[in-house]
Symmetry: C2
Subunit: 340 residues, 2 copies
């Protein structure tokens, strides 16, 4: 941490808060993961994402997730090494061996990068896994290797189709990333009207959910997060969001989702990587992306509008500030991690 | 037309309407296109989509588009043959030579199919083109060849970014299609809050647009379609829709959009095709897709809900009915086409 006097503090300190440097947060996370039985390598992979998430302002997608991994049923079940079960020069189907998604999707992203390097493009997917965290993290890995990346994650049912009273689709996030001369541009959304993590957080805090998005076990509208956990939420944007969620579930199937447990509504972490140089000249795309960003940011603004935002821009900006100022965590989380 | 007595008529007849069989509609469209200077082959390609669109209930994306092509500035400019300017075993960048998108995107889809056949997957894009019609048409071509297909179309600015008062993004449709044992499943949306064709139609009919979606040339909210044509519309679903539109503009750049006129906000028709057999076993995906559709359709329904819909299902169902009953066109359109 090398704060200057002119820095405005992004996150507030307090008696129930702890401020850690990146290195301190990494050490704490890796040690906690290793005490949970993860190898040093897996602990490093998991923690790297969790710290990156915190740097970008995703508090609950950060170190608290180690406690969630600890509590997850599947973490208690046997794991096998992650392995490629089918491949071609452009593709790999990967058996995640019940490893947590943080690690399984990381390995899939690595394979997608390696195959795009030799073949110009690739499709790679991993199944028999669960919870991978923030899609933009993996997408940025692929983008930093120089490739355009489409990354989707199908999951078990939590989202109701329009007209339905039971969940039939996962929260199914959708992410696309692009390299540019001025750094990665990453679009990352959930296709549920509410992130599942938000539902869990509302339940923990005993706070009501917004009207009209949640349904209980019997399919009745509910703002009670505890009830909605047993039911589900609606997709974003009505039929357009539903269809996108459906498509991501289908990409999951293409990526082996049903191989794990014979269920067509299950987890798969799916990647497409494309080397821009197979279509355009060296650096042509990266230059044009930077120009597209600049042109869109230069759109004349409405009254009172501070700036035109680009997907992923806020997180990237905050990352730089927190890298200097440190990351603020709840003291209770830190203590829980230390006592694992 | 072989209507049975038990058929309920999908579209009404009337003095200002003409009902044509598929064959009659095709002959009329192909003759009109050829009189506009298109080759017999191009006329066949254009008309095939326009008739397919009508069969699925997209009235204004059908034969009336021939009149729009006739009126388009770019149709009056010189054309060159469509040609591949760069390729690898998995990719092709295609110069559309100012040919209309109906033809250029069709050729790109054909190339995507051929390359996916030999390499397992492909990425193909065509630039220096304009208006390609309905993305699902091209996607279904690729799906019918046995491949999963992602198809996007970037265009010139018509959509305002959140906070902006000038258009900076195209209406940028997004389409994904999947083969299944029970026929193609196609998800096809525009990322604008309103299809541009709807804006044009409202202008022609002098009808007001819905509140809150349109802006005039100066960036002021407007429901006057004539004014909105000079301005633009907002994306669907706020920031989530804006980001998707942005990503499609970026995929357009990857697909050579800026090659045509040096503009980073321009047309490109972009395809990714994936052979499911490079990841799964023969027919495994097609079987599982049919099961996913069946499971989602079997979701318990809310009160008064007739059925749970699958993307593309309505159009596919109506296609079968109109193939029997014939297609109803406005008499004025038919007469205008006959007198080209």
């Amino acid at each position: 941490m090398s704060m200057t006097a002119t820095d405005t503090l992004l996150d507030q300190d307090g008696p129930d808060k702890v401020r850690l440097s990146i290195e301190e947060a990494r050490a704490l996370g890796e040690q906690a993961c290793q005490r949970l039985g993860f190898s040093a390598e897996d602990a490093r992979i998991i923690t790297d994402q969790l710290v990156e998430n915190a740097l970008r302002g995703y508090r609950f997608a950060s170190l608290p997730r180690i406690l969630a991994i600890q509590g997850d049923e599947r973490s208690k079940q046997a794991r096998k090494p992650i392995s490629i079960v089918k491949e071609t020069p452009v593709s790999a189907l990967v058996d995640g061996g019940n490893n947590v998604g943080y690690v399984a999707a990381y390995r899939a992203a690595e394979i997608a990068i390696a195959k795009a390097r030799t073949s110009g493009m690739s499709v790679v997917s991993v199944y028999d896994s669960y919870y991978s965290g923030r899609n933009a993290y993996f997408t940025e890995m692929v983008v930093n290797a120089g490739f355009v990346c489409i990354h989707t994650a199908s999951a078990k049912p939590r989202v109701l189709p329009p007209g339905g009273v039971r969940p039939a689709l996962g929260t199914n996030p959708f992410c696309i990333g692009f390299p540019s001369k001025n750094g990665p541009v990453i679009y990352d959304i959930g296709t549920a009207s509410l992130m599942w993590g938000e539902v869990l957080l509302h339940a923990r805090l005993g706070e009501p959910l917004p009207d009209g998005v949640g349904f209980d076990e019997a399919g009745r509208p509910s703002t009670n997060a505890d009830e909605v956990i047993k039911g589900g939420v609606i997709p974003f944007a009505g039929h357009k969001g539903y269809g996108l969620s459906f498509a991501i579930q289908a990409l999951g199937l293409l990526g082996g989702a049903a191989r794990a447990r014979g269920l067509v509504q299950d987890y798969a972490f799916f990647f497409i990587a494309i080397d821009p140089a197979i279509l355009l000249e060296e650096d042509e795309f990266e230059q044009q992306m930077a120009e597209l960003v600049a042109r869109i940011k230069a759109t004349p603004k409405g009254k009172g509008v501070e700036e035109i935002r680009i997907p992923g821009e806020r997180g990237a900006r905050e990352r730089k500030i927190r890298a200097r100022q440190g990351i603020v965590f709840d003291r209770a989380v830190i203590e829980a991690l230390r006592s694992i």
